[in-house]
């Protein structure tokens, strides 16, 4: 079990094309299936209505972090926070990053989502400050234990 989701995909389209597809709010909305209210602006919240069949009642919310042209686009959000009964604003959001790299015949897109272990400030226990690094490895060990038993 990982604490970060990472995906890599090679696209047969130039970096400029991919950059526009992920940062133009209309184009993003097309493939991501959300009708956004307005353009993405670094440091600003973004929101819109999900257009994915069955989830049209859900409002999509994110806060744009970085927009480094043709290199990095990032936002924070509550991943697939689609349960209307849950108050996601009290949860610490995760960070989504889209990184672009040119390839001879297209673009390599690396997507990461991290921060699943961020505990909301109000729930922090003193004990959690003892956290040490390298726990991704440890999680694998735990998973092994759990699946073996």
């Amino acid at each position: 079990m990982e604490n970060t989701i990472e995906k890599q995909i090679d696209l047969k389209a130039p970096v400029s094309r991919v950059w526009r597809a992920i940062t133009d709010y209309r184009e993003f909305g097309d493939w991501f299936r959300v009708k956004l209210d307005g353009p993405f602006v670094a440091g600003q919240p973004a929101q819109g209505q999900i257009t994915y069949p069955g989830y049209e009642h859900v409002t999509w919310r994110a806060v744009v972090q970085k927009m480094e042209p043709e290199t990095l686009f990032s936002f924070t959000w509550h991943p697939y926070g689609i349960d209307p009964k849950v108050d996601y604003s009290v949860e610490t959001p995760t960070l989504v990053e889209f990184r672009l790299e040119p390839l001879p015949d297209g673009t390599r897109l690396t997507l990461t989502e991290s921060g699943f272990d961020n505990v909301p400030a109000g729930r922090r226990d003193e004990a959690f400050r003892m956290n040490e690094g390298g726990w991704t490895e440890q999680m694998k060990n735990i998973e092994k234990h759990v699946t073996q038993n």
Partner: protein
């Protein structure tokens, strides 16, 4: 032991982000409950610290205390870890879908053909 409200996933992740607690979970994940004294054996960490770590794990729902006779034992509950794994798998799958839609989008619509 009464069942508390379900701890948040972030709390479970954070509870597991410590080596001592991970080693406690690893020992208890064998399925057999152990006493605090037993869990402290062979550990460089004091009994008091072990107790504190067990409480953190307990508040995250990863272990629970059970009474056997006059003894208080701790046992492992795999559910929060299974829940975390299922959750990450679902988020991961959603990204696979979204990225495959992005791929078709940029490869099939090289020009401005926004279809909203």
């Amino acid at each position: 032991m009464s069942r508390k409200t379900k701890p948040g996933r972030a709390l479970v992740f954070a509870a597991l982000g410590d080596e001592t607690r991970l080693s406690l979970v690893a020992r208890l994940s064998g399925g057999r409950p152990h006493s605090i004294a037993r869990l402290t054996e062979g550990s460089a960490v004091s009994r008091q610290a072990i107790t504190k770590h067990l409480h953190v794990l307990e508040s995250a729902g990863l272990v629970r205390s059970v009474r056997v006779g006059r003894e208080s034992l701790y046992e492992f509950d795999p559910e929060p870890i299974e829940d975390l794994k299922g959750y990450l798998d679902r988020v991961s799958l959603q990204w696979d879908d979204a990225l495959s839609r992005l791929k078709s989008f940029v490869e099939e619509q090289p020009r401005d053909q926004v279809s909203l």
